[in-house]
């Protein structure tokens, strides 16, 4: 009797142990698959191209931190970095403000055409970019905004507007009406209510849209490549791509440039991962 139960127990344990091990192996391999390329890139960014050519997979020794200085100063990555910063920070600030204003009006007030305006603003989220791209090129040329960071910023505002309105409208609609009633009693005007109640109370949602918009625009490529041709005006993604086109063999410097573009995003993610993920999941979960 004792032997039978012992055997039964072993039968139950053995496959479980095996499947645990197999599972750990699969997860380990998958982790290597997602993280490996990134770590490989990180090691290459502190190695010289000569070292990389000798062995593509060696550990950096010594760490050539001066690669970053050289990418920043000699290879124009500083220019691209500041262009990106200017365009993205400007666009994110504007889109958040005007998106929040629209979202507030749509969430709070009842008026004819409320849902129609919401639908119009929101629906462009499914547009393929080409439907506006070619004409935007013509329009920006007409208005002398082609090859200008201001023009690109304005286009970026329009690109992120639907998502911003969508996320903020959903959040603002859940702010209790009592808060507004009380503010009205205290004699707050409609604009004051927006400025002094909605924006502070809505801060968690606004932070979410800020970080989501920042990462998406920081990585934007298609509109930048069409609307910017002047090397002085390049943003990071097109700057890296142009550098890669010209210096195909200079792997070390490409890796360093790529790292420069990745670092702000990683920093943003480290500090705001919860907010970013909340924004990304907001749409897809019902």
């Amino acid at each position: 009797m004792a032997v039978v139960t012992d055997q039964a127990a072993r039968h139950a344990v053995m496959p479980r142990l095996f499947s645990r091990g197999a599972l750990a192996l699969v997860l380990g391999i998958y982790t290597l698959y997602t993280l490996g390329p990134f770590l490989w890139l990180a090691t290459m960014s502190v190695r010289t191209t000569a070292e990389i050519s000798a062995d593509h997979y060696a550990w950096p020794r010594p760490f050539h931190w001066e690669q970053f200085r050289s990418a920043w100063v000699d290879s124009d990555f500083a220019t691209y970095f500041w262009n990106s910063t200017l365009v993205v920070v400007g666009a994110v600030a504007i889109v958040t403000l005007i998106g929040a204003a629209a979202a507030h009006a749509l969430a709070r007030y009842r008026f004819r055409g409320n849902r129609l305006i919401y639908g119009i603003l929101f629906s462009s989220i499914i547009f393929p970019p080409q439907i506006t791209l070619i004409s935007l090129y013509q329009i920006l040329v007409d208005y002398n905004l082609y090859n200008s960071l201001l023009g690109l910023s304005l286009v970026y505002v329009s690109l992120q507007l639907p998502l911003t309105v969508y996320l903020l409208e959903g959040f603002f609609a859940r702010i209790p009406q009592d808060l507004f009633d009380a503010a009205k009693m205290d004699g707050y005007g409609d604009l004051e209510i927006f400025w002094r109640i909605v924006l502070p109370v809505g801060m968690p949602a606004i932070a979410t849209t800020l970080i989501l918009n920042f990462i998406q625009l920081w990585n934007e490529f298609l509109f930048a490549v069409v609307l910017i041709t002047d090397p002085e005006k390049r943003t990071l993604p097109i700057g890296i791509r142009a550098f890669m086109g010209d210096h195909f063999q200079d792997i070390g410097m490409i890796a360093t440039g790529v790292m420069i573009s990745v670092i702000p995003v990683i920093i943003a993610y480290v500090f705001f991962s919860e907010k970013l993920i909340r924004g990304m999941t907001a749409g897809a979960i019902k």
Binding site: L23, A24, L27, T31, T34, L35, P37, F38, W40, L41, H56, Y57, I98, G99, A101, A105, Y109, R110, I117, I120, S124, I126, F127, P128, P129, Q130, I131, T132, I134, S135, L136, Y137, Q138, I139, L154, S158, L161, L163, R174, Q177, D190, L191, I215, W218, N219, E220, F221, P237, V258, V262, V265, I266, I277, M280, T281, A282, G283, A284, I285, K286
Partner: protein, 318 residues
């Protein structure tokens, strides 16, 4: 989201009660106030989304060389029907749009389940699996061009290391392998996004149902098949549609990795529009406008059809 629904009910109750004293209705605002709030967004929308979209559609009936535009009627569309490259691009894009979302969503769901089941180091793994989502297409493209490199790319190095030299290939240079290689790269980037959404959805499932199934000694396979997947259906469907739309628009990754080559093997509609408008020196913006118009209609129609077909009652979000 049940709590949101509860709130909705509450507010509509209040709407009914306040309409009685409509004079002081806090949900009313003067036209001036509404205009101040809505005008900037509508202005941006009209000027930089609606007007360009209409102009592209309008332009598709013209041949446009610089400032010279001459009306050609439907000639661009007739040319399009006979354009073999366009149809190759359509085929590639459709293959991509139907195949890749299954890959993305399935991987995402499995990863989310692993985290939900409480594997060790779950916090670390969640971050590690999510990292690719943060990287721009330029970064992802460069990384994977190196991974696919014939001489020293990771893939071929590993194949040679285990003695499978014959399988080592020029992944992006071979017309038979290029599309699959780019699709794998794209899946690498997006699996983490689907994982995060699935994980959030699993966590928002009612606990009682999952606990009850555990009491009933439901195995993981059964739990997955009979409880989790059916309850996650709306999330999985919207993820599928979201991925589908994303693939219909795909440009950046393909453009940087292969420029649509070799021999149009990875050409997508987006890269073809870009080539015709800005890359080939054809100096005509009318024809690419026609492609963009057709594709715009195809994407809109697909979203409507998919929504109907997959039975998502709610409007598509995100």
């Amino acid at each position: 989201m049940p709590e949101a629904m509860a709130l909705n009910v509450k507010t509509s109750d209040r709407e009914a009660s306040t309409s009685a004293r409509s004079l002081a209705d806090p949900r009313r605002a003067s036209r001036v106030v509404l205009a101040i709030f809505l005008a900037p967004a509508l202005l941006v929308y009209c000027g930089l989304t609606a007007y360009p979209a209409f102009r592209t559609i309008f332009d598709s009936f013209f041949t446009i060389e610089g400032v010279e535009a001459s009306f050609v009627g439907l000639a661009n569309y007739r040319e399009l029907v006979a354009d073999e490259t366009f149809w190759i691009a359509v085929r590639n894009t459709l293959i991509w749009s139907f195949v890749a979302p299954v890959l993305d969503v399935a991987t995402g769901l499995l990863l989310a389940l692993a985290l939900y089941a409480g594997v060790p180091f779950a916090r670390f793994l969640r971050v590690a699996w999510f990292t690719p989502v943060l990287l721009s297409y330029v970064v992802v493209a460069i990384l994977w061009m190196w991974i696919f490199n014939y001489d020293w790319g990771v893939l071929n190095v590993m194949l040679r290391a285990v003695g499978l030299d014959s399988l080592a290939a020029s992944w992006l240079g071979d017309p038979n392998l290029a599309l699959a290689s780019v699709i794998v790269t794209h899946a690498w980037k997006w699996a983490g996004f689907n994982m995060v959404v699935c994980l959030a959805a699993i966590h928002s499932l009612p606990r009682e149902v999952l606990e009850a199934s555990e009491l009933d000694n439901c195995g993981w396979g059964e739990k997955l098949r009979y409880i989790i997947v059916p309850m996650l259906r709306p999330t999985l469907l919207s993820l599928y549609i979201l991925a589908f739309i994303g693939k219909m628009k795909i440009f950046d990754l393909v453009w940087i990795m292969t420029q649509g080559g070799p021999l149009w093997a990875t050409e997508t509609v987006s890269t073809y529009v870009y080539k015709r408008a800005f890359n080939w020196n054809t100096f005509d913006l009318g024809y690419p406008s026609a492609i963009a118009t057709v594709w715009f209609l195809v994407v809109c129609a697909s979203v409507v059809i998919l929504n109907r077909l997959l039975g998502t009652k709610e409007r598509l979000e995100y």
